[in-house]
């Protein structure tokens, strides 16, 4: 085998390396063969003294494994970040978090509504009850009004809270 043939075969075997690394190995063997020829070997002997391109490539692969490098092309940092960010795990987690937020908002909105509605219902029931049993009717009207007032208060607090957070965000954007 000639030097040219050997290097061509080796290059093909090293397909899994980045071109820069491949170049470095090819240059190394190119120099080795030239130096052997210079020291008196024929080209044929110089090349046949070397391990076969397959053996060399296998050794390169083994060395990379031993050094903890992947056999293939290395992943660049942005790709790794993308892989982490794009992991399906995050999708599940963010959906879960989103669900919790929606739940909190719904609860916050439902509390005043429920209070006002149940207050109104108790008030109406209290008025009806007033015709049969005055003390109970008065108590019911009172508690209904109290529940309604609490509901209104909760609504005002909720609106104030939402306004405050949204306005603060808008100010930040400005």
């Amino acid at each position: 085998m000639t030097k040219k043939e050997y290097l061509r075969k080796l290059k093909r075997r090293l397909y899994f390396l980045k071109s820069e690394e491949k170049r470095s190995i090819i240059d190394y063997y190119d120099e080795m063969i030239d130096d052997k020829i210079e020291s008196g070997c024929t080209e044929n002997v110089a090349v046949s003294d070397l391990e076969s391109p397959k053996t060399v490539a296998d050794k390169v692969r083994e060395d990379r494994k031993a050094e903890g490098k992947s056999a293939g092309v290395k992943l660049s940092a942005p790709i790794m970040v993308l892989l982490i960010v794009g992991s399906p795990l995050w999708l599940g987690l963010s959906i879960g978090l989103f669900g919790i937020c929606i739940g909190l908002v719904v609860v916050a909105a439902v509390v005043p509504i429920v209070l006002v509605l149940s207050g109104a219902a108790t008030l109406i029931a209290g008025i009806i009850e007033l015709f049969q049993n005055v003390p109970i009717g008065v108590t019911m009207i009172g508690s209904g009004l109290a529940a309604g007032a609490l509901g209104c208060l909760a609504w005002v607090v909720l609106v104030w809270f939402i306004k405050k957070t949204i306005i603060r965000k808008e100010n930040k954007i400005k």
Binding site: S24, Y28, D35, E51, V60
Partner: protein, 104 residues
């Protein structure tokens, strides 16, 4: 020889071969091979590792119309070699212990 052990020994052989001055790959193999079996494919990763670790510097020199890489040992490489020799004394002691226990 155990692979890990051989790797460590070879690295230091390669460093020792540079103590006389800078040396190129083929010359290095010729210098080391009477003592320890070393092929081109074994030498390559050792040189890369030594260079990457700062124990060796490399420069390309034009020779007969082509480029030849010359490797030189750095001060860090010399320290490494010294460390290896110091460690080796301990290894010999341990080896002696293992041998006497084994032959009992």
């Amino acid at each position: 020889m155990d692979v890990q052990l051989k790797r460590g020994v070879l690295e230091n052989c390669v460093l020792a071969a540079m103590l006389d001055g800078e040396i190129y790959g083929y010359e290095l193999i010729k210098k080391v091979s009477p003592y320890v079996d070393i092929s081109e494919s074994t030498l390559y990763p050792i040189l890369r590792r030594l260079e990457g670790g700062g124990a060796v510097t490399v420069r390309s020199v034009e020779h007969n119309g082509r480029l030849r890489k010359y490797y030189a040992i750095t001060q860090f490489g010399r320290n490494k070699l010294k460390e290896f020799l110091n460690d080796w004394e301990d290894v010999i002691k341990i080896y002696g212990f293992i041998k006497t226990e084994y032959l009992k």
